[in-house]
Amino acid sequence: MPTLDASDVIHEGALDPESRVAVVVIRRTRSAPHAYGIDYKDGTRFVLDGDDVWCSWAADSTPEDTATYLLGPVLAYVLRLRGTLALHASGVCLDGKAYLIAGNAGMGKSTTATQFAARGVDIVTDDVAPLVWRDSGAFVLPGYPRLRLWGDVAASMFGAADALPLLTPTWAKRFVDLTADGYRFATGAVPLGGIFVLAGRAATPSVRTLHGHEAAIALLRHASMTHALDASMRERELTQVTELASAVPVRELTAPDDLERAGEVCDLIVESLR
């Protein structure tokens, strides 16, 4: 594993609102400008060195703990360092197109995606949505076949929290296995149809279309790992997001503040596409 002796801190603080460990330190080595280190406060260290991702972890961590970091913020950062835009969003496939559901932690991205999964809809990704451009437009790359839910959401949707397995033995978050019978998971890139941004909760759910700078800024707020990018990467991100906001509809969603009514968000999304 490469060392990070002479390095500059490029980010210290909250990595991701949903991160298990709120504070991490990201460093860039002086001797090898393409080598980055990510130190979690629980002792887990990742080193990104060109095409290699190295990792070491504390004795009391489990492989599942490390996988949670790797599959979330770490690979999102690898994508961003390679110039791939990734949004903090879940993705579902409707009529052959991917629709992203973006939003802050706790706003209901995975809950909404799970509601769609229960209806037999293909899931494209959960939490990290990488976007690539091809001749015909923007595509969403699939993530891994799991949806991650907190225990109260699992209890509401599946009858009991322990109806779903724990993501790791040391954390309260659970997961839906999309390789199980009855679920569908996208196996390849899916053309992007539009983006819904979960912006708040209200008694009556609603949807409105965002335009111009309002749409672009709504997407910029939900770009993965933005705070750990340098100026040239941020400029590239701005270009990608403004192109995205011009290419597909961006809508703002207000969800009901009641887990029992989570299905109404799906109804609203489907209705808005008609």
Binding site: A215, R234, E235, L238, V241
Partner: protein, 88 residues
């Protein structure tokens, strides 16, 4: 309004158009700003080095608006941009 004033766009501010509008990123502060179509046009003309008087004259040809209203709008925007450190 000082018609001769030329705005100097601050370093570290990145601008991209989206449709007719503009998104600004103040990289140092990590803050995004949005400008509507007229605000975006004012930014574009300012970035070409045009003084405020020439910006107002250009916009008067492009929009159906009185000089008095336009000058007040340009002054308000310039004040806002200056206060936020986006122009000097």
């Amino acid at each position: 309004m000082n018609r001769e004033r030329t705005l100097r766009l601050s370093e570290g501010v990145i601008a991209k158009t989206v449709g007719e509008e503009l998104v600004l990123l103040d990289y140092g502060a990590g803050v995004y700003y949005g400008l509507d179509a007229i605000g975006g046009r004012i930014w574009q003309l300012a970035s070409e080095g045009k003084p405020l008087g020439a910006i107002v004259d250009t916009l008067l040809e492009e929009y159906d608006v009185t000089r008095e209203t336009l000058e007040a709008d340009v002054e308000a925007l310039v004040g806002d941009l200056t206060e936020r450190g986006l122009v000097r």
